[in-house]
């Protein structure tokens, strides 16, 4: 058996079914291909329709990317979580929660805050925010209930906590004065500043978005953990049976999602000089839309981070396109809803193709 079976060259009478999978079919099974195609289509559409409104310009492009960046950062984590088969509906509320946590830490004691220096304030606010993600994750893993329900609860809990905590301590729900905190300049250089390119102001957050997308793509496609994420989303039991630490992975992804929400909150607190307990409203849905438009399956097990980034970009393109053309903003929702439904139909078709050769 050891000598006779060692024939590495496969016999020429190969299974004909293997050959039939051509290059195009392979390309079609890439999760982000639909989103990238849609991205080009939507851009061309607005480039034609809104050409007179300077849609094709540095300023408009900067505006689109600035809108897309926070959503894109969120979508990176949400996409990983969704590929692993879980939802986080509380992520938008956690943005508001994290923002209030940061501001309460730095606000002077005389104004009801804790008056901490910037460094410790950020560390403590980060830990509190990660605890929110940990809470979601542990609850999902221990109760085995759908994360949809658990985090729907979280959506209200964290929004309510943010508002209540801000009001109890400061009697307000909007906290300002972040620009006066010592050390703000360093933070601003890292997270809040705008970079001037040909007269248009690009947020530095765009770089964070690109960096995180690249990092998450590498993790997803080229590491052990990435393989686990696909596996757990595809079949939790099968993954557990081959030794994937499912619970640890799922909890970590919820914590990661909370981290993304914290980063977005910190960027916005830096950009706006303060926090509002209502910030991040509906961002949970927008992030899910970005991921799904980007080819992530609602049922998990399939998708890509690059797709989610494209999804966030499409979202921002549509938003900018509608605004710039002066069309009533109500149409934005119609447009986004239609794109979402089309994307899901397309994804479903792709998945069935992938499963049935």
């Amino acid at each position: 058996m050891t000598t006779t079976e060692e024939a590495p060259a496969p016999p020429e009478t190969a299974d004909e079914r293997v050959r039939r999978v051509g290059g195009l079919a392979n390309l079609m099974t890439r999760p982000e291909i639909g989103a990238l195609a849609a991205l080009v289509l939507v851009w061309v559409f607005f480039a034609i329709v809104a050409f007179d409104n300077n849609f094709v310009s540095m300023a408009a492009t900067a505006s689109i990317l600035n809108r897309a960046a926070p959503l894109g950062i969120l979508a990176v984590a949400v996409a990983l979580l969704m590929i692993a088969g879980e939802f986080d509906l509380s992520v938008g509320s956690i943005i508001g929660f994290a923002g209030i946590a940061i501001m309460l830490m730095v606000t002077p004691g005389s104004a009801g805050g804790f008056g901490l220096a910037l460094g410790p304030a950020i560390v403590i606010a980060l830990l509190i925010t990660l605890a929110a993600g940990l809470f979601n994750g542990i609850l999902v893993v221990t109760t085995k209930l759908p994360s949809f329900i658990i985090t729907l609860g979280g959506l209200f809990i964290f929004r309510g906590l943010a508002t209540a905590a801000a009001r109890i301590r400061t009697a307000r729900t909007q906290l300002g004065g972040f620009g006066d905190v010592p050390g703000f300049d360093i933070l601003n250089a890292l997270l809040g500043q705008k970079i001037d390119i040909f007269g248009a102001a690009f947020d530095i957050a765009i770089l964070w978005w690109i960096g995180l997308t690249a990092l998450a793509t590498w993790v997803l496609l080229r590491t052990k953990v990435g393989n686990w994420i696909y596996g757990v989303g595809g079949d939790t039991n099968a993954s557990r049976n081959v030794g994937v630490p499912v619970n640890r992975l799922v909890v970590s992804l919820f914590v990661l999602t909370a981290f993304a929400a914290f980063l977005v909150a910190l960027i916005q607190v830096t950009q706006f000089g303060g926090a509002d307990s209502l910030r991040g409203e509906q961002q949970e849905f927008n992030a899910i839309i970005a991921a799904v438009v980007g080819g992530v399956l609602l049922t998990g097990g399939y998708g890509s981070v690059v797709g989610a980034a494209a999804g966030a970009l499409i979202f921002a393109l549509v938003q900018q396109g509608i605004t710039i053309t002066g069309v009533d903003a109500d149409w934005f929702k119609v447009f986004v809803g239609a794109i979402l439904v089309l994307a899901v139909i397309f994804n479903n078709y792709i998945r069935q193709r992938a499963q049935k050769r």
């Binding site: 058996m1 079976e5 024939a7 590495p8 496969p10 016999p11 190969a14 299974d15 079914r17 293997v18 050959r19 999978v21 392979n26 099974t29 590498w218 080229r222 590491t223 052990k224 990435g226 393989n227 686990w228 696909y230 596996g231 595809g234 079949d235 039991n237 099968a238 993954s239 557990r240 049976n241 081959v242 030794g243 994937v244 630490p245 399956l297 097990g301 399939y302 998945r351 992938a354 499963q355 049935k356 050769r357």
Partner: protein
């Protein structure tokens, strides 16, 4: 017990008097069984006999409520399937073996990914994974041109083969196969039976769960029959002909009653269809045995 003649080799895996209760339900009661390296223990039982519970207990999914579990002669207490896997007990489940949307190479290495580089740049060694997958599948006679192909595009037998190849590649000392041939056609079942024999020849202890005695008989060394949560019997191959195995498995009396029923049905006019059905079943049985024997002789 009838297998005492081969006492020279110690069992690699053995459970003694294990029971498993789920609330008031007694899923397993006083079950003892073992497998030796290089042997195939067939675990036979009809639906609801407790096969699944027993497999899950052996695989580390369930903890037995009572009884002892020995691996390589030492008592063990598994907290998770990963624990069992680390000892070298690999379980291939019937329907949960593979993730359809994932590529073959990702499936092959799921949970045991080869890595290269140092942290934080430690990464999944993708090219190695693809190469090994292609090689291991070629050894099983399945030519994978494109390891990126989703497993969902493979046939049932090929999927089982990938799963078995994976377990063997990762150095399983004991291979637990949960009904690997249940959903397969005659030819594909033969392919899977051949790999069971290959694994056995490599010195792996195989626990082969099935409700089909015709699949069990050609490859098994001894047969454990499970009925209603308890061990009905444990027979060496030499001591039990196939017909007896079939009869014991289904419950002799039940089968007799069934054959009477079929016989009386065939006496009437409307019974002609039943007769044809019986003939067809016999023919199918013959081909299955042939295929299985063919698989045996191929070795």
């Amino acid at each position: 017990m009838t297998h005492n003649e081969s006492m020279t080799i110690a069992p690699i895996l053995e459970v003694k008097s294990i029971s498993k209760f789920f609330g008031s339900v007694i899923a397993l009661h006083d079950v003892s069984m073992f497998v030796r390296p290089g042997e195939v223990t067939c675990l036979l039982g009809d639906n609801g006999a407790g096969k699944s519970t027993l497999i899950k207990t052996l695989a580390g999914v369930h903890k037995p409520t009572e009884g002892e579990y020995f691996f390589e002669g030492k008592p063990v207490d598994f907290n998770s399937p990963r624990d069992a896997l680390e000892h070298g007990i690999a379980t291939v489940y019937q329907d949960l073996a593979m993730i359809p949307l994932m590529s073959i190479w990702r499936n092959f290495f799921l949970g045991s990914e080869p890595t290269k580089g140092v942290p934080p740049l430690r990464r999944f060694d993708v090219s190695h994974a693809k190469q090994v997958t292609r090689e291991e599948m070629a050894k099983m006679g399945i030519d994978i041109r494109n390891p990126d192909q989703p497993v969902g595009t493979l046939s049932g037998g090929e999927r089982q083969s990938v799963a078995i190849a994976r377990a063997v590649y990762f150095g399983a000392k004991v291979l637990i196969l949960d009904e690997p041939t249940a959903a397969l056609g005659v030819k594909q079942a033969g392919v899977v039976l051949r790999y069971i024999l290959q694994a056995k020849q490599r010195g792996i202890g195989v626990i082969f769960i099935t409700h089909n005695p015709h699949h069990a008989y050609p490859v098994g060394d001894h047969f454990v029959i499970l009925r209603r949560g308890t061990i009905y019997g444990d027979y060496a191959k030499a001591d039990v002909p196939l017909e007896q195995l079939v009869s014991m498995m289904a419950g002799g009396a039940d089968l007799e009653a069934l054959s009477h029923e079929l016989a009386s049905a065939s006496r009437t006019d409307t019974g002609r269809a039943a007769e044809e059905l019986a003939e067809a079943a016999q023919a199918y049985h013959a081909t299955a045995v042939e295929a299985a024997e063919g698989a045996t002789q191929d070795e």
